[in-house]
Symmetry: C2
Subunit: 145 residues, 2 copies
DNA sequence: CAGTATCCTTAGAGATACTG
DNA sequence: CAGTATCTCTAAGGATACTG
């Protein structure tokens, strides 16, 4: 009933690629490295609802430096996920938009985001348990105290 | 209808969190940082099809160091995504399994993986276009240096 | 406004050697 | 086998100052 079984079967198709360091042959790693960085998904989420300018994006995510904002945006543009539109006003305005390719990422991303949102309390609980509770089977097999 | 519009609406609910550096308030960033690292998703994919031991995982993804394999596995265990089972044989055997929480990640991940697989040629094309580089590097292996 | 350029500090991660 | 313990190096990324 859960499509999880489905997912498992599909994963098995990729397993051989996983060990392939030269990411040319591993689409999974190639793309995950791309959008799995610190800011890319955030930017895509921001641009999902509407096109925004550089400074708007910066205000939306204040803890990114201008350097990284520029770089992230540039990389996303390079990969065809967003487009960049310069308005030759004075001072110049630059608007970033989600390209069709970027829009096609929205659904898969939403699935992940929803998961994160629904499960993060469980994750925190597990974390607290792991950190706080005395481990029943320690990782380093220590001798009986 | 595409669920993309749906995704957009859902994203807007998270937008205010996005600027929240203290990831305590931003489930999205919290969890993305967790599974967005270099190896976590790979490990989850490996464990999706069957439980595996340390060395099996290492063989499946040879370019991870033992240090990082241990650390990745430990972090996933800490977050409740996988479980660790020690068999006190000699020499010891340790089996890693996907916990229910980890299994719940399979579907969202599958969506992302499928996207990566289906779109990576488009991405490469966009990249080549952006770089102005000669696009196609054939499948042939490089000649030994 | 929308970036560059530069410097500088950490965290990420490999290599290697050792252990229960 | 399944890890630890170091040691090291690199590159990700922040801070700051400058520009068209």
């Amino acid at each position: 009933m859960s499509t999880a079984q489905n997912a498992i079967e599909r994963f098995s198709r990729y397993q051989r690629q996983l060990g392939d360091a030269g990411s040319a042959h591993c689409a999974v790693r190639d793309v995950l490295d791309r959008i799995g960085d610190k800011w890319s998904m955030l930017m895509i989420m921001e641009l999902a609802t509407q096109s925004q300018r550089f400074s708007e994006l910066h205000r939306a995510v204040p803890d990114i430096s201008k350097r990284m904002l520029t770089q992230t945006l540039r990389d996303l543009e390079r990969d065809g996920l967003i487009t960049r539109h310069v308005f030759p006003t004075r001072p110049p305005g630059v608007e970033y938009r989600l390209a069709p390719l970027g829009q096609s990422l929205l659904d898969p991303m939403a699935a992940l985001i929803e998961w994160a949102d629904r499960r993060h309390s469980e994750i925190h609980a597990a974390r607290a348990r792991f950190d706080g509770a005395p481990p029943d089977i320690p990782h380093e097999m220590l001798s009986p105290a």
